[in-house]
């Protein structure tokens, strides 16, 4: 078992009325598994990922990473949890605009305290792995969207995390690109025995998971309700 949540709740204290984005989520992630998360917009998918990644503090419930109580960690502890164990892949435009591909990938390595030569060598390695070795010195705006997303994946992998959290990583990509990015993620996951949680709106992408979780109104529901409008599958 890599990660387990029990009764995970997150309430956003909004000005008008509080929003219960997560209302008691129990989830277990085994090492090396690939979990896909689906659900309607606003159902709490992103909130769940952020909580798992130690980016927000749950209002109630527990998150255990192995035997580390994430729900109890302070800001410093959460930051080092993210540095050491988590790799995030967000929707897009998650690269620092004024840093080259290589230097974007170097950020997590720098935060880990590696010396510059090691940072560079490892950044080059992962960039090679996502077939962007020749684009190391390009700025994000000098790369295509698909290439940018591959850099983001390389960056998520650079610090050799245990858990990859991907929030709609192919959200704005065309079908061909979507397939290639999903293939890449899948290859990397198997190659490195990573655990991965991916939020997606695409049923095809969701179907790739070993395990599929559907969320509605902040709760995991066993059987997804059939999608009424424009249902494909």
């Amino acid at each position: 078992m890599l990660l387990r949540t029990t009764g995970l709740c997150k309430r956003y204290d909004h000005r008008e009325e509080p929003v219960d984005a997560l209302a008691g989520v129990d989830l277990e992630l085994d090492v090396g598994t690939f979990t896909t998360v689906t659900g309607p917009s606003g159902s709490g998918k992103s909130t769940l990922l952020l909580a798992l990644g130690g980016l927000l503090r749950p209002t109630a419930g527990e998150i255990w990473f192995r035997d580390l109580p994430i729900h109890d960690l302070g800001p410093g502890g959460l930051a080092s949890y993210r540095r050491e164990h988590i790799g995030f892949v967000m929707q897009e435009f998650s690269l620092v605009p004024y840093l080259s591909a290589e230097r974007n990938v170097m950020i997590p390595l720098a935060l880990q305290g590696y010396d510059r030569a090691t940072q560079r060598r490892r950044a080059r390695e992962v960039l090679e792995r996502v077939e962007l070795g020749g684009r190391a010195t390009h700025l994000p705006r000098e790369l295509s969207i698909g290439q940018q997303q591959r850099v983001a994946i390389a960056r998520a992998l650079a610090n050799e995390p245990d858990l990859i959290l991907a929030d709609e990583p192919t959200g704005n990509l065309d079908p061909a690109l979507t397939t290639s990015i999903l293939d890449l993620l899948e290859e990397l996951r198997q190659e490195r025995e990573l655990t991965m949680v991916m939020v997606t709106h695409s049923p095809a992408a969701a179907a790739r998971g070993d395990r599929r979780v559907h969320i509605e109104a902040g709760r995991i529901v066993d059987t997804p309700r059939p999608i009424v409008t424009g249902a494909v599958s």
Partner: protein, 406 residues
Amino acid sequence: MRRLGLVWTELKHRRSQLVSGVLAITLGIAVIVAIHSVTVVSERAVAINLDNLGANILVLPQAANVDDYYAADIDAPTMPEEFVDRVVTSGLPGVDNISPKLTRRIRIGDHKVVLTGILPAQEIASKPVWQQSGLMGAELQLSCDPDSAENESLGYKDERLQRKVIEVLPEDECLLGSSAATRLGLAEGASLTIGETTLRVARVLEETGTVDDGRVFTHLHTVQTILGAKEQISAIEVMGCCNAISDGLLSELRNVLPDTRITTVKQIVSTQIKTNGLMRRISLTFLIIVLFVGAVSIGNFMWANVNERRREIGILLLLGAPRTSIYGMLLAKATILGLLGGAIGFLLGSLAATQLGPQFVGMPVKMLWILLPIACGLSALVAILGAILPAWIAGRLEPFTTMQEV
């Protein structure tokens, strides 16, 4: 990649913003440095004037402007040379020496110089009136005002002694102040043509750090001819003994020359002291304004920068950057801006002071390098103060809101 590397890269990336970020503080520092550089020189000049010329009396035409002792005779209206004789014949006790002058700003080629006609000591001494009154060759009474070793060490000479040295000056020779010589490109022995008159450069005077450096000294009668001002002079410098001045030499001189302005260097200098005091207060007021405006402007700039970088800050937090490193990054940026603003401000201010300052104080203004670290330190401090709040807010940003907002 270190934090500073990131800060540098970001600064380079948003280079154009840099200007607006440091503009206010740069200008502020520039003004402070300029005022201070000029004030320092002016204050030193006052001290030296008092030391060297404490016992001097300047007789000027009624309409003359007496704000600046050294420049008082320049372009002043004239009075008859006969006034000199009146002083001499009056037989006033306590008059050590007397020196009539006629001074005008003139142009030689492309250069502006101050042409000053003087009567060499020997000729004054040979005037019949002088001899009668027994003032001839009266030695300077150094006991009045001993020359100060400190001033000599600063490169200033006791000017009473120096002026006294001009014993002989034929009508076709001239003496050049050091900067006049440099500007005109003339050395000793060269010849200088003014209008139709040609003069031989008898000597280049040592640097004094006063307007005298820009003067061309020649015989009074030569200047009178050149300027077409026969028998006219613009000032009489009377060297009196301190005791005599306090004993009422000044009012006695006023009786002898009723239609003139008679003043001592102390009186003139006192207005300069007031000006210096004013400059100091302006400096201080400015300092406070700069502290405020500089801090607010840098704070404002940093705040805009933080807003622009919300997503980026979110990414860094996402990748596990501790909040302290976000503060660090922004404060490092503010520090760099501050140092940059301080250094550029220092350079601009010094440039202004050295180029324009001489017009105000009438003597060369030097760059005060000691102000560089002070300017940079002050400016960096102001920048950090201004950036603290934006940095703190940036450190508190929630990574997820910043990721979702854009």
